[in-house]
């Protein structure tokens, strides 16, 4: 940016700051963040977004802009790292690059970079990062193949870093989370062999020993995770945040629109249905739940990861389902879904509202 532009941007930033002081609205926060971005000061833009989000946490525009600035900053750093790696490739740069990619869930790119790194100089750190990529993929997809790949990558990392506790700890967490307690206990013992006397590890070892009695094997645990899509301890009943009333109001509002035939909210084995009554409501809820579980399983097997939306179109109209972690919203319209309804539906997923006793059991 040349001197003149920088000088002009200073004036614009000052004006945006004054407007924000006079009227602290999300719009003015956003305007200030945009001016900072235009001036190439992405750190200041992020600070403005964070400050705005602290005052208006539910503002979607601010939150999106914050994500965008973070992404652009990350992309800038990635470009710098690529440039430096092309000039003088070295392990710390590869590591930073791969860590950024793993943290931003760009697993394919991370895997490609790791393959390049390993082809160049078989660094042991690369094996550990590769194991992290496979683990991240497994926890997102929860498929058996990804689980086996994660196990193999962890074993490889442990073989290359025998005195490093990080791959062993990653393996211990992995086995504990999938519920293979017996294998997890053995892994905790290996961790203790590397770092004897660690109180936390000793505590974990005792807990795992107590649970190892009837524990499933590693393969069995993976099979169970793939089948249910849930890790042991991820209980559907925990963490209900919104009230039933707020979801029902949203469902009523959606169902009141002219071409909406049914609006549903599904959580666990119960569903709240607006529109159809009696047996039809029950059948609709059951169909939505069947589609939901089948689609989650299909996405895992297809390697697509966590499902965000399922949409069916046909002579019956449009059925759109937006699954959250433990719940889902669904809308059946006679015409197309439309942008506003899609947003409302996506907002319904993840509400984790309690449905106990009031919904349609299915």
């Amino acid at each position: 940016m040349n001197f003149l532009n920088r000088f002009l941007s200073l004036g614009r930033i000052r004006r945006s700051k004054r407007a924000l002081v006079a009227d602290p609205t999300p719009r003015n926060y956003l305007a200030l963040a945009q001016q900072y971005s235009l001036a190439g000061r992405s750190d200041a833009a992020q600070r403005a977004c964070v400050e705005g989000l602290a005052a208006f946490p539910a503002n979607i525009q601010l939150s999106r802009y914050h994500q965008r600035t973070r992404r652009s900053e990350r992309e800038t750093r990635l470009a710098e790292l690529h440039r430096e790696l092309a000039e003088a490739p070295r392990a710390p740069l590869w590591r930073e690059l791969c860590e950024i990619l793993i943290e931003s869930d760009e697993l394919v790119r991370a895997e490609e970079e790791l393959a390049r790194w390993l082809a160049r100089d078989k660094d042991s750190e690369a094996y550990y990062l590769l194991a992290r990529v496979h683990l991240a993929r497994f926890f997102a997809d929860r498929g058996r193949d990804q689980g086996r790949a994660a196990w193999a990558a962890l074993e490889q990392a442990i073989a290359h870093l025998p005195h490093d506790l990080r791959p062993l700890r990653a393996k211990l967490d992995f086995l504990t989370r999938i519920g293979a307690w017996k294998d997890a206990r053995d892994c905790a013992a290996r961790c203790l062999a590397v770092e004897p006397g660690t109180l936390e590890l000793e505590g974990r070892y005792r807990t795992l020993s107590a649970r190892a009695e009837d524990a499933p094997s590693f393969e069995r645990a993976l099979h169970e995770v793939e089948r249910s899509g849930k890790l042991p301890g991820e209980d559907g009943g925990a963490g209900a945040r919104a009230s039933t009333g707020s979801v029902q109001a949203l469902l009523r509002e959606l169902a009141g629109q002219p071409d909406v035939q049914a609006a549903l909210y599904v959580r666990g084995s119960t569903a709240l249905v607006q529109g159809p009554k009696g047996a039809t409501a029950e059948r609709t809820a059951r169909s939505v739940q069947t589609i939901l579980s089948g689609s989650r399983s299909a996405a895992r097997r297809l390697g697509l990861g966590q499902v965000f939306q399922i949409q069916l179109e046909g002579s019956f109209g449009t059925l759109s389902i937006a699954p959250g972690e433990q719940d889902a919203g669904a809308l059946l319209c006679s015409g197309p879904l439309g942008r506003s309804r899609e947003e409302a539906l996506l907002g319904m997923a993840g509400l984790n509202a309690a449905t106990g006793g009031e919904g349609v059991p299915s």
């Binding site: 589609i291 697509l304 965000f308 399922i310 179109e313």
Partner: protein, 167 residues
Amino acid sequence: MIAYLESLARLPGVEFVMLISHDGVPIAHAGGTEESAREESLAALAASWLNDVTQAVAPLGWHAPERVCLRAARGTLVMRRSESACLVVRLGREAAPEDVRLSMDGTLARIERARHGRTHAPLAPGAPSAALVTAQESEPAGPIPYRNDAPLVEEQLRPAPGRPPGT
């Protein structure tokens, strides 16, 4: 047929295009080198999901969905069903299913037209009728040659006037 799929595979955001039968057998595919290695499993999984969805909506008295989308963290799977086959498109994370709606409809319509056109292709003068050729082509030759005899004389007899047939 691959030419039709390739034009779809060239669209931005499209990773892989495949035409499959309703029971999950891959017919043709275009794009994506990674997916093409496991096209059979992709076809089987996609068809199985579509059949599951069809079965799930059947108790509501609905016909099979014509178009289904599965948007997920690592991409989107869009399937468009026709009477004879199913077009499967895998999109990258940045692409939306709406971006390929028209192109998918067009591609599937062209494939159906080509299939239909082949079945009812105009014949040269003097050639056997189209219906006969179609019947002959659609039925593969049996492993053992057989003789197609004329019907028995009794079967060709007409009932006597005033008597109902079969008496």
